[in-house]
Symmetry: C2
Subunit: 346 residues, 2 copies
């Protein structure tokens, strides 16, 4: 009706659809909500007209009244970048299938979390928060998020009594590292390695400390001397430098168990390209994560796997279970690890 009607095109509203379909505005709302009673043919008509008008329910308005934003916040640091990008990728796909959108937040690298950022995140009212970070404590996050129950990754020590009733409330993805690490050490031992070094991640990281403790215990039970710790920070560059230093100035080792795959790549490159050592003949290397690059021929890394699909499915289950039962005590899902044997041990 105006001279140019496609300039700052505004979106269609439920009211417009209702008018066009000769129904009430509420009927339109019902047409878009599966579990409401509405005559099938009416629903069909409404949906058809909605499509013609390019109408989609406004999620902000819907969130305001229903309390569901259909937003899942993910907080990531930028350590482990490789593993996480794969996980975010898979998780986003899985969440899309369930009707959720991924809201991404990046923390600082110094293992502290900006309160300002938490406030912003809370403002968006996510239905759930997955904290890949280790820099924000459950208590802090719980204080900030009202409705959403955060999900944390735990690395329970084998045999440790589980304080199931977690306070403040948060849900857990338990990752059992024992099996994978034990298999790795057994393989190393079987190929004659005795002096095994541990390339660490950032010392503040629980992923790092738990991995180290498990390795120490596994080695002790197998009658091996405790691992020498080579300090890294999950990155390739730090691993490279630390390895050069350890083999030039320090004692070196028969094998290096790396906290993650990217670190293992740094170790391998330092050994081969800077120290003139062969992998696996002179030094054996094991990683952790099994990221996509691990099977690339330049590395062909033997590593402890963490199944990505299983992990994503477990996370999605946690989210759905929590949304179905907001008052439930701390929920848990558990995941195991296993060794993927390739060419860096032998």
């Amino acid at each position: 009706m105006s001279d140019k009607d496609d300039a700052p095109r505004s979106r269609a509203t439920a009211e417009m659809v209702a008018a066009r379909a000769n129904v009430s505005r509420v009927a339109v709302s019902r047409a878009f909500n599966p579990h409401t009673s509405l005559k099938p043919e009416k629903r069909e008509l409404i949906l058809r007209i909605a499509k013609e008008l390019d109408y989609t329910p406004d999620r902000a308005a819907r969130a305001l009244v229903s309390g569901r934003s259909h937003l899942i916040a993910i907080i990531v640091p930028d350590v482990y970048a490789h593993w996480e990008s794969q996980e975010i990728d898979a998780l986003t796909t899985a969440l899309q299938h369930e009707g959720f959108a991924t809201l991404l937040f990046k923390t600082r690298t110094d293992y502290s979390m900006d309160e300002q950022l938490l406030a912003t995140m809370r403002g968006h009212n996510p239905d759930s928060v997955i904290a890949f970070v280790e820099n924000v404590k459950p208590s802090t996050l719980a204080r900030f998020m009202g409705r959403a129950v955060p999900i944390y990754v735990h690395y329970p020590a084998p045999g440790a009594t589980d304080d199931s009733v977690s306070n403040p409330l948060h849900d857990r993805l338990n990752v059992l590292q024992w099996d994978g690490i034990d298999q790795a050490v057994a393989l190393l031992q079987g190929y004659g390695a005795r002096r095994i070094a541990y390339l660490s991640g950032a010392p503040e990281s629980r992923a790092n400390t738990s991995r180290q403790h498990t390795l120490e215990e596994v080695m002790a039970r197998r009658g091996l001397p405790p691992p020498v710790v080579v300090k890294g920070d999950f990155s390739y560059d730090a691993a490279y430098r630390a390895t050069v230093n350890f083999f030039r100035v320090g004692d070196g080792a028969d094998a290096v168990f790396a906290v993650n795959d990217v670190g293992a790549f740094g170790v391998i490159d330092a050994l081969r390209h800077e120290l003139g050592l062969r992998v696996p003949e002179d030094v054996k290397v094991v990683g952790f994560d099994d990221i996509a690059q691990s099977h690339w021929k330049s590395y062909n890394l033997t590593t402890v796997k963490f199944d990505l699909d299983e992990r994503v499915n477990a996370l999605v289950r946690l989210i759905l279970r929590r949304l179905n039962n907001p008052a439930a005590p701390g929920l848990q899902e558990t995941l195991n690890t296993r060794l993927i044997v390739r060419g860096t041990v032998g």
Copy 2:
């Protein structure tokens, strides 16, 4: 004050803050909006009380009335995974500084885009949409998004007349590939390469076709025979297989120019570990992107760079410019490329 006040803790509202501060609800709103008139001391008081009560304005409610969701949607396919994860990372950080949150959507890999997904995205009312994808046309996206003007990456051919007035409306990040590719070919030529092959990406991708056309033109101007095309799809595995095939069954080449770094890694590994050829002595390799892994010692790749920070800044500028001027014609930002010389040509 109650027996258990931290059970299903609901968030504080502006009303509660207003009551506690003895001001009107509107004053609370103003306190959180920079460019509104409010006595400084009053603002301070309100903000202090808000902090005590852990109050944050609800973005859904705010979006409903202000028309700004503070959400920036990013659509990514899963090709180029490495480059994109870096870009999403940097972009998310930059957007956070501007008060925006990143809403992530993943498309299918088959270069078609799900209408259902577009509808979901529109429902969230993003302030802007960045389409890294090539599978959804501006016309489609424009039809779906009401207010948001999508941003596309273009690869203008040098000297091509620019149809500045784009219809449907979308903003552009122009990436000039000529300089970087010309420098790469010059370097290859300087080291005696004459038969240069091109490892392609997915054929439907404009990034791929434009890169190939530019390469062809550069080589023609330099008096070189046209490049043989080795078909890849941006992935390591496809590059690996295609390279093995090309050198075993096909003619081989003096050098391979890869559409992206990950592809270049596949080429290098195939040459070294499967074909027994040396890089760069027997075959030279150039990549495109300069992702983080490119400087790793196993590859140490010579590649055409696309500055990440510049690119992110340009995207953020496009978003802010568009939001400040919703009715402006198609906006543009331009970026150049240059060669990063490392060890795979020589």
